[in-house]
Structures are given as structure tokens and as C-alpha cells.
Subunit: 328 residues, 2 copies
């Protein structure tokens, strides 16, 4: 870290200065060894389980470096990885930043990126513990997040049973709407456009996930990253069950024709809202909002391993998986 004559060391020093040690929540001896050694040392709390999750975030696949503000890339790379911790009902503790950059991105671009990353570190109380930097032609990011949850309280995808109510947080499809606006706009984006907020600065639903886990209300949970029509089948498969959702109940983006709104809400990805199931006798214990985020019951888990959607005119149709798959 002190070898300022070396380019890699310079990059590390820049990252450490701008994103190292900014959250105070995980201090107090939790990270006796952070950035700069062969590995970080982390002290887990007794009686907790460790949550481990990683996410790719690649130029050309997940974002466009020429178009997306560097600050939003910094925010979103951590937000989407932390969202997986929220989906287990846990608290994020620290993360490893894996950053591969072309030389042209190691100046002003990197500073803006680190500004967004720092905002996310503070917002989520998730400290930079280490990582790896290298050179590449494209901007490549991979974030590993380490979280914790009280042993036995982590919520998986596999606990939903026939009769459970299906809930989602927030409105679905808003991030996809933002992505489409990005596609229409030429040149770099301005990050202040309110229609772009959900796409550029998603908010992992940490308070909601923790509340559901602590109160043992969610029988299954996952975050909506690829779209409801892709993610609900995953939850149902893990739970060996099916689902019927009601199109008229799904919370959709505002200010669009009804048919368009539903398509966005069913198939749009990147919302990072939580999808969770609740036993019938507990459904009334779910409030309309938690920490300012609305919660909506959208359907029921079924014993038949079919996924169907009831449309506005009462028809029952198969829910077609049209969400995002990076290999399609």
C-alpha cells in the first residue's frame, strides 16, 4: 500500500482513501485485519450464521460504462449484492471489492465510482474489507458481501407451502422502465431524473428482510433481480410448489397504460424488491408498509407445480417466464 511508485499500489491507495473505513457500524474490532494484507480477518458474532454472496457487474452485460454515471455504478454494484443479504433476512457486515479496469478509467471515472460506492457503504453499514484489483480492457466488477443472521433465522427460498400468501415490496417494473429510458436516450445520463432513480440507485430492502426474519413471518424469501416471471418460478421450484398470482393486485409503475405497466411488472428485472411468502394465519400480521416501503399481497402458493396468473377479466393463464437470463 505504501509503494506509491507502483501503479497497482496507487490504485489501492486511492480506493483505501475514498472507500476504506467510512462506516462506523462494523467497527469495534469486527475487522482486525482489513485491506492490504493477503486476506481480511473478520470476527463473526457468536450464535450468528455467516451469509456469503457474490455478484458480477460487468460493462456491456449489466451496465454501459459510456452511458451510466460512474457514481451510480459504484452505488449499484454494492446495492445489488447487499440485496441478497436482505433476501436472507440478514445484516450486511463487510465486502470484498474486485475491480478490473482499463488505464483510462483509473482517474476521474474511478473517483466518481468510489463516491457512489462510499454512499452505499454508509447507507448499508457494509465496510470495505479487501478485494483484488487488476487491469482489463473492460470495466469488470465482482462484489462479495459477508453478512450475518441469527442462527436458524435465515430465510431461504424453499419453505413456501400450499396456501401461503405471496407478497412483494415496492412497485415492480420501475427499474425496467428506467432501463428503457436509458435505451432511448443518446449519450451519458443525468442521474437526477426521478424516473431513473430505481434503475440507477436501487435500495436493498434490509429493514424489511430483517423484520420478517426476526419475527419468523416469511416462510420463503428471495430478491427480485431478474423479474417476477423468472424469480417466482425459482422460489416455487425450491419449495416444490406452484403459485397463482392476481394481475390486478401487482403493484406496477405509475403513469403508463395499464397493459404496459403489467408487462413491466411481470417481466422487468433489477427491482431488488423482496418476494416473500407468509402462512395464511400470519397474512394479516403483514402491515401495509415497513420502513416506508409498501407491501402487497399478490397471490397464493398452490400444491400443483404450475404458475398461473389471473387476469383482470378473470381468465387463468400460464405465467410465462420472460425475465432476464444472461445466457439468452
Amino acid at each position: 500500500m505504501s509503494h506509491s511508485n507502483q501503479p497497482e499500489a496507487q490504485l489501492l491507495a486511492r480506493i483505501l482513501k475514498q472507500a476504506g473505513g467510512v462506516s462506523h457500524r462494523t467497527q469495534g474490532g469486527r475487522l482486525p485485519v482489513g485491506i492490504g494484507d493477503d486476506a481480511a480477518l473478520y470476527r463473526p458474532s457468536p450464535r450468528n450464521e455467516t451469509i456469503l454472496t457474490c455478484d458480477w457487474f460487468l460493462d456491456g452485460t449489466h451496465f454501459l460504462v459510456e452511458k451510466h454515471p460512474a457514481e451510480s455504478i459504484g452505488w449499484k454494484c454494492l446495492a445489488r449484492a447487499v440485496s441478497d443479504v436482505a433476501a436472507m433476512g440478514g445484516m450486511p457486515r463487510c465486502f470484498l471489492l474486485n475491480l478490473a479496469l482499463p488505464a483510462s478509467r483509473s482517474g476521474a471515472w474511478l473517483d466518481e465510482f468510489l463516491k457512489g460506492l462510499r454512499m452505499a457503504i454508509r447507507a448499508f453499514g457494509c465496510d470495505l474489507a479487501g478485494g483484488d484489483t487488476t487491469r482489463s480492457k473492460q470495466v469488470l466488477l465482482n462484489i462479495a458481501v459477508i453478512g450475518e443472521v441469527a442462527a436458524g433465522f435465515g430465510v431461504t427460498r424453499s419453505g413456501a407451502r400450499a396456501g401461503d400468501s405471496i407478497f412483494v415490496s415496492g412497485r415492480l417494473g420501475e427499474a425496467e422502465l428506467g432501463l428503457r429510458l436509458v435505451g432511448l436516450k443518446k449519450g451519458p445520463l443525468h442521474s437526477k431524473n426521478p424516473l431513473l432513480q430505481k434503475h440507477l440507485y436501487p435500495e436493498p430492502r434490509l429493514a424489511l428482510g430483517q423484520w420478517l426474519a426476526k419475527n419468523r413471518l416469511a416462510t420463503a424469501m428471495m430478491d427480485l433481480s431478474d423479474g417476477l416471471s423468472s424469480d417466482l418460478p425459482r422460489l416455487c421450484a425450491a419449495s416444490k410448489s406452484g403459485a397463482q398470482i392476481d394481475a390486478t393486485l401487482i403493484p406496477t409503475p405509475r403513469g403508463l397504460a395499464a397493459s404496459k405497466r403489467l408487462q413491466l411488472a411481470l417481466h422487468g428485472g433489477d427491482d431488488y424488491e423482496l418476494l416473500f411468502t407468509v402462512k395464511p394465519q400470519n397474512a394479516l400480521r403483514i402491515p401495509a408498509k415497513i420502513a416506508g416501503v409498501r407491501l402487497t399481497r399478490i397471490g397464493t402458493i398452490t400444491a400443483a407445480t404450475r404458475l398461473v396468473v389471473k387476469t383482470g377479466n378473470g381468465k387463468i393463464e400460464e405465467l410465462k417466464n420472460r425475465g432476464w437470463d444472461p445466457f439468452c
Copy 2:
């Protein structure tokens, strides 16, 4: 995982079948939730600290997909990340596999890659706990390893003091020699060539690192990934000290002219041997070999923050940093 109609799910099923659950050492409830959920859940042992480390392994930067056997890429991606756990004196427990692939690599190439990865999982007792897969033009790998070490026993880079003896394991420069042979050879390599073994199938020095940590013999330790002339300055900077090493003591590759051997040993990367320091009164407690790996005293930590090498004819020269830097 059960959505075999989806390409991403097919890839996951292939990884799970070939590399999931093959080590028995970390079973027994240590991974109550593994691959296939939003995140893995891991149960750390009481009184241990968690070791966290990540490593990039990229086509074009760290290996050549057209040239290196896929099996060796699978082995090496885990071996080099596990080496950072060895360097802390710890035991690897599990890892997250981040794999981005072009479609052309998701068949026979992937099978060979997973074969090498499975060999490494078994050899190191380090289980696949999760990760992320996506599509990309190049083969991109990032491995996050989770390890453990008894609280307070982890060995950092910062504890070396003037007078401490400097040791290395194995022979330095053998991996670099292998890399040069790769450069000379046209077309794909045969992995059986003994001169290529260290380059293709490096062995993290887990038993040595654990023995040194357990017996509190190493005052500082790191693994040699970029070359002695790059890595020793890092250990010295972290320890706010300097070093004098003796060129005649450095264990070099066999079967080459003496001058070439020394250059390879000083500046060659990718050896994954351990570099460690020992208090003068403990130097005699270091045996000639641990777990079949030779240990060699190569010099002394000094108070002056200079790094010098004593040559065969008794001259004292500055140790020039000529190891590997991905940004140079």
C-alpha cells in the same frame, strides 16, 4: 436449479453436479445453505476468526484460454485464492465461484475446467458454497475463499522486526520458468510436462502456514504471487522495516545457468510459496522441511527501510522491484 429449460439453470446444474458437495471435510452442518439460494449460510466455529479473500483470474491477463489446459485453469483458480488463506496460517472452508463464459466454453471446456476445480476442492478441503454465473466474451473468473484461523493466531504482513530471519518455502522461479516455456510453445499445452507442473498446478502451502501459525513461529507471512522482488518490499513496508537477502541462499530452479536461475527466483511470479519471518531465537526451530516442502533461510530483516541483496561476490546491491504488476 431445476429449470432445465433455461440456459443459466443448465449451467448451474452442470457446476453443481461436477463440483458441488465433493469434499467431506467441511460437511456436518457447516454449510446449512449452499448453492441455489440468494446466498449461502455458513456456520463459523466458535473462537475462530473468518478469513476472507478474493482473486481475479482472467483470460488474457492471468492465463490464455487457447493455450492453457482447462483442467489446470480449474485447479489454479482455486489454488491461488486458497494460497492467501495459507499465508494467514488458516484453513480454507468454502468458496464462491464467479464464472463468466462465452457460449462456446459452456460444453467440453467447462467439463474439463470443473474436473480441475473438483481436484482442487478435494485437495484443499474447500467446498463450493455458491457464486454467480453470467455470459461474457472472455472467460472471467473470480474466486472468493472463506477460511478460518483460531482468534489471535492469524499471521499478517506487519509483524516483522529488525533481526528476524527471512525464510521461503520451496524453490522460487519454477512457475516463471514454466510460463516462459508456455510462451515458446505453439498451440495448446500438454499438462504432463514436469517443467510446467508448478505453473499449471501450484500447491498452496496450507500445512506449512498452519504449522507456523499454530506454533506462533512466524512474525510476518505472505504468499509469493508476484515475485520475491515485488512481495518482500510489501512485507517490509507493512512491517516498517527493510531487509537484506543473500543471493547465494535463495533456492532457485534446477538445470539452468546460475545467472538465469537467480533472475527467475528474484522476479518470477506465480510460485505461491510462503515468505515468512522468524525471531532470531526461533530460527533454529524451523526444520529443513515441513510436509515435504523445503524451508530455506534467505536473509534478515533490517531497521533501515532499504531492501538489499548480497551477491555471490560479496557486493551489496539494491533489490530492484521487477516482479509482476498488472498495471505496468
